[in-house]
């Protein structure tokens, strides 16, 4: 499978775990893969972006703007910010929940009231779904569930990759979240 994926959100939302699972899975499925992460300062509640490149022979660890197949966003504003990475028919999977950035909280900027059009968009309240599955922390796995519908990898492979990368105590909740994400994505 060849896929350039951008994963965005706010520091502390569990973005790194998502990219780690995807990278692990790609390797399992026999693809080459590179994942690029941001650690450090940017994690203190700032915008976070992770690049996942899957293909036969991946060189650059970064996705080139205008060439991504998919943006997975944990927060709506960050989805809007990352849209420019997508190629014309590239898809968006986005949690519709808002987290107000400091300039908006302070009244120095307005939260953009904008939809994403002209491309496949899977917009869902992933936080609600995650909470219903037992943990607000599982937003990432809900979104991964939706993402699984856009690949030719089997659901079982995803579930195995989740099991290999999450703490055993949270596995049940995460598997529930993954299945709920798949369910929501089909709608």
């Amino acid at each position: 499978m060849k896929k350039d994926i951008i994963i965005v959100g706010v520091g502390g939302q569990g973005i790194l775990l998502t990219s780690k699972i995807l990278g692990y899975l790609a390797l399992k499925m026999g693809d080459d893969v590179k994942v690029s992460e941001v650690h450090g300062m940017s994690q203190r509640g700032g915008s976070v972006i992770t690049h996942v490149r899957i293909g036969e022979n991946v060189a650059s660890p970064l996705v080139t703007p205008g060439e991504a197949d998919l943006v997975i966003s944990f927060e709506w504003l960050e989805a809007l910010r990352a849209e420019f990475y997508l190629k014309p028919q590239g898809a968006v999977i986005a949690n519709t929940r808002r987290m107000l950035p400091m300039p908006v909280i302070m009244g120095k900027a307005e939260y953009p009231e904008r939809q994403i059009t002209g491309r496949p968009v899977y917009a869902l309240d992933a936080q609600k779904i995650a909470e219903d599955c037992g943990s607000v922390r599982a937003v990432n796995i809900v979104l991964l569930g939706v993402m699984s519908l856009l690949t030719d990898w089997p659901a079982e492979a995803f579930e195995e990759a989740i099991a290999a990368n999450v703490k055993p105590a949270t596995l049940e909740t995460n598997l529930k979240a993954f299945r709920a994400g798949r369910e929501a994505g089909r709608k």
Binding site: L27, D32, V38, G40, P61, I105, P112
Partner: protein, 572 residues
């Protein structure tokens, strides 16, 4: 089977396989995880040193005494460690010694964009530059072999996009490298002028020998494609070049210093146009130009920021990539419950000139806290406050304060404090003692009482240390903002040097589950907004608390003159 590894993780694996026995480092993004991953291998003894100079000296001692040893740091950390490095280049090593230094082009998490390759050249220390995780591991093994073969410390240079990318790695077994015997060798290890002059001759010989051997080391490679354009590159930039200029022939340097000039000459002879594509300084370009070979480079890429496929493509006439839209920024902020928020709220209220330092609290230069006025380098806040008093006088000092974290103080604030007392300054220093090295992701330090394995360790007593230096010391919980304010007022007016230790654990370490704050009867005055807490949101109808973010620290309760905010305390 291949394993997906972070660049930093692959280096730790390479060190393990190379038989490394000792690792001493100071944390710094993007290098921190190397040492953390090393500490997961029981065969390698790891430690967090108080700073990079001590780390390199300690690793050097282990090398001199026969063990393979290493030290990891970010680019600015190498400045701190430059002193031992420059002379270790003369003495050479016994057990292999490698410094892993991570540059941060674009300054994702740094205060400057300096290029480690410059320091390496100034110190005459050879440099390896891997381009993916597999090479991170392979070059690490190679670096230790070559360090012993050529009797020199090595630098393995990383950049953020290499250190923090994951790619597949084939792992191997550890080779057993016994500790070599210690031998007294005054001519090699005592760098008095008479000995150093002889060793300097050796340094030049060694460098010439390495350049001659370069082709046989298997670290540089040529891929001939088109004849029109030949690109010289190294590190992760090689990956960008492969994609951006698929027709170009490439000389990929794994050993980027000393430069294999014969390889460059041969490569240049086969292409019509020679270009160096390198991040930051135009070092290779200048070296090749000095050989009399026509070459270009910086005119395409400039010196600043990171390169990427699109930047290289655009520089060579390719189509422009789409740009990020203008949307409200989301700058990083102090976490909910962070004790620094309380301290800086008080500092702002007192309208002080805050000479800041390197840590999470550097964020306090941004609104709405915006009360930090300088951030130069580790530990600089104290010296700068002393200097400001010299320039502006005693009254200015009554309205100034040096602020730095516990780890930064131990790193390089102590000598500044010694000077402040010794030169009869009248300054106030606030040590933000949150019991951890925070910004780099929670590493232990001498003041926390734990080591890298989270085992209890002898704890540095900050108050006794500062008292013995000659400062007046007060310890105060910053979450009690009124008390902190009173203490600061008193200390600012005290003659001599005062140290206020604002002690309260990092919010991310505080594992108590507390009830989030609640708002009832908000009059929408906005007083609580001044804290700049991301959990407090304001609409036309008043303030609300985002319960998912709030950690129940209760700081906002005291901000409300109307008693509209309540906070329930610990949840069991």
């Amino acid at each position: 089977m291949k394993k997906l590894m972070l660049g930093n993780e692959a280096i730790a694996r390479g060190a393990y396989e190379a038989g490394v026995r000792f690792v001493s480092s100071y944390p710094g993004t993007p290098s921190t995880e190397i040492t953390e991953f090393c500490s997961t291998y029981p065969e390698m003894l790891c430690e967090w040193a108080p700073n990079e100079k001590v780390a390199v000296e300690t690793a050097f001692g282990a090398s001199m005494a026969g063990a393979r040893a290493m030290s990891c740091m970010k680019h600015v950390g190498l400045n701190v460690a430059a002193d031992p490095l420059y002379t270790a280049a003369y003495t050479g090593v016994n057990g292999g010694l490698v410094l892993f230094v991570a540059d941060d082009p674009f300054m994702h998490s740094s205060q400057n964009e300096q290029d480690t390759r410059m320091i390496a050249r100034a110190a005459h220390v050879p440099v390896l530059e891997p381009a993916d995780s597999q090479e991170c591991k392979d070059f690490t093994r190679k670096a230790f072999e070559l360090s012993e073969k050529y009797d020199t410390p090595f630098i393995l240079r990383l950049t953020t996009r290499l250190a923090h990318q994951r790619s597949p790695v084939e792992v191997a077994e550890r080779v057993d490298v016994p500790v070599k015997p210690y031998e007294k060798n005054v001519m090699k290890y005592v760098m008095m002028p008479g000995m150093a002059r002889k060793r300097h001759v050796y340094v030049e010989e060694r460098e010439a020998r390495m350049e001659q051997d370069a082709a046989s080391l298997g670290l540089n490679r040529v891929k001939m494609r088109g004849k029109a354009l030949g690109v010289v590159c190294a590190g992760v930039v090689y990956q960008f070049v492969r994609e951006a200029l698929p027709e170009a022939s490439v000389l990929k340097l794994g050993l980027s210093y000393p430069l294999d000039r014969q390889a460059v000459r041969d490569f240049a002879a086969q292409v019509d146009k020679l270009v160096v594509i390198e991040e930051l300084e135009g070092i290779l370009e200048q070296e090749i130009a000095a050989m009399g070979i026509p070459v270009e480079g910086k005119k395409y890429t400039g010196r600043q920021g990171e390169l990427s496929v699109q930047r290289i493509r655009e520089a060579f006439g390719g189509e422009k990539a789409p740009q990020e839209p203008a949307l409200p920024a989301r700058p990083p902020v102090l976490c909910p419950g962070c004790p620094h928020r309380a301290t800086f709220h008080v500092l702002k209220k007192l309208k002080l000139h805050v000479f800041g330092d390197i840590g999470c609290y550097t964020l306090c230069a941004l609104p709405p806290v915006d009360s930090l006025e300088s951030a130069l380098c580790m530990g600089a806040s104290i010296g700068m406050t002393v200097g400001a008093e010299k320039a502006q006088g005693r009254d200015f000092a009554r309205h100034s304060v040096a602020v730095l974290g516990d780890s930064t103080f131990v790193h390089s604030g102590i000598t500044g404090l010694v000077n402040a007392v010794y030169d009869r300054s009248n300054i106030t220093v606030v040590i933000l003692d949150n019991r951890i090295t925070g910004m780099t992701g929670h590493q232990q330090n001498p003041a926390t009482g734990f080591d890298i394995y989270n085992q209890p360790a002898p704890q540095l007593n900050l108050e006794k240390l500062c008292e013995s230096i000659g400062a007046h010391v007060v310890v105060q919980n910053p979450m009690e903002m009124d008390r902190l304010e009173a203490v600061l007022k008193e200390e600012l007016n005290r003659d001599g040097v005062s140290v206020v230790i604002a002690r309260y654990p990092c919010a991310l370490l505080d594992k108590r589950r507390r009830t989030p704050a609640k708002v009832l009867g908000c009059r929408n005055c906005g007083a609580c907004m001044r804290l700049g807490c991301p959990a407090i949101e304001r609409t036309d109808k008043g303030v609300t608390i985002n319960a998912a973010l709030c950690n129940g620290c209760g700081l906002c309760v005291g901000m409300c003159a109307f008693g509209a905010i309540t906070c329930g305390g610990d949840q069991q």
